[in-house]
Symmetry: C2
Subunit: 236 residues, 2 copies
């Protein structure tokens, strides 16, 4: 394939297994406070190695799908969900990730909306965990979850991912709740609202959210495209 001075004969021997895994984030109300918090779904391993430990959903890459399609597919297959945002996280290829075999995992992270997340499949072998309390996971999946969390927080602070946790219409308070949940801080509603309204990707609709207990907040819409990474770049 590539011209290279490497020993070409080695290639056939090596051929590490290639797998795709996904860290799926959704906001769900905390059991205690009721405020939204970050959750991720994990699958129980049904064979060795790491039998009975929890692991990230994942699977092989099939021949006729792109990497991102493979991530979306195994997300749908394990949780029944359609993600609103998918981005590549990292390719993990350390030598001893799996005790039995050399595996290179290309890991994605995804966001799903809470309306969807509510009707997600949950079973004996698929369960949702609070992202900061996952316990001991199979393989190097604890490190992967940590890194995904770090990336999510980063993207939220500097990018425009927050809206993918929400539906098409949302109030400023809902966006603020997303930030507060993910970054684990409290934000000044006044300043936060002004900042959002000054970003060109946020569009003010004429609608108001009715049925609340207090003054009805205005509804907004997000009109931006997510991506700067190669998979999403071409989308105009």
């Amino acid at each position: 394939m590539y011209s290279s001075s490497a020993n070409v004969s080695e290639r056939a021997v090596a051929a590490p297994t290639l797998a795709i895994s996904t860290v799926i984030f959704a906001l769900r109300p905390s059991e205690s406070s009721g405020r939204p918090t970050l959750w991720i779904p994990l699958v129980r391993r049904i064979r060795e190695p790491f039998k009975d430990l929890w692991a990230l959903p994942g699977g092989p890459l099939t021949h006729n799908e792109s990497l991102q399609d493979a991530a979306s597919r195994n997300l749908r297959e394990t949780t029944g969900l359609a993600p609103s945002y998918v981005e590549q996280l990292y390719a993990f290829g350390g030598l001893h990730r799996s005790p039995t075999q050399r595996v290179v995992s290309i890991v994605y992270w995804a966001l799903v909306q809470p309306t969807e997340a509510a009707l997600a499949d949950e079973s004996e072998n698929v369960k949702w965990f609070r992202a900061d309390k996952v316990g001991e996971l199979a393989f190097d999946h604890n490190a992967i979850v940590d890194y995904a969390l770090w990336r999510l927080r980063n993207k939220l602070a500097y990018g425009s991912v927050a809206y993918h946790f929400l539906g098409e219409y949302f109030t400023l308070a809902e966006v603020r709740e997303v930030y507060e949940a993910v970054l684990d801080t409290r934000l000044d509603p006044a300043n936060f609202g002004r900042q959002l309204k000054s970003t060109p990707e946020i569009e003010e609709t004429g609608e108001y959210l009715q049925g609340g207990k207090h003054r009805p907040p205005r509804l907004y819409r997000f009109t931006g495209r997510p991506g700067l990474d190669p998979d999403n770049r071409s989308t105009p």
Copy 2:
């Protein structure tokens, strides 16, 4: 390997080829202005597909090396250089990257110091190009180079990569030249110097660079660690 509801029998069929490629950046004086500019080494393809076109150096992943080691190795093999900085860029896995075969490329980017870059191997089949004037490359390598450039500029602006283009000791003006070359702007020497001196990772030495035409500038040293990505995290 992974528990998954995917059709396990498909895996054996699929098995796309896995390759490692690297975008190697070095600063070299421009032919015209003499000011430093960004260059990258490319290798000429000696077979189909894309025979005779230039491509990124790359090769297979061998069994007993990590992804990053593979990147460093093929960097050394094509250019004879030891990189001062290596970071994973992205895993490219589109279906039609190569017309003949399904290939997933895990791409790294690297920086080498100009002292090293000066003695880099150059031959009929390995040549250095200005990063912004590479012409038409094989596969999707133009897109990859563009993305690597974007990342480098980003990391330079927000991170602390600049020092890896330089030796252990450097003057503030040298760092400024790196920024000016990569970001293609002019920066105010006064403000730039103050900013650098206020970053805790920059250490002022007692030494001065002698032999210049004018007032000898103070020499500085960088005392930070590069990384926040998984490969470099554990390094204490």
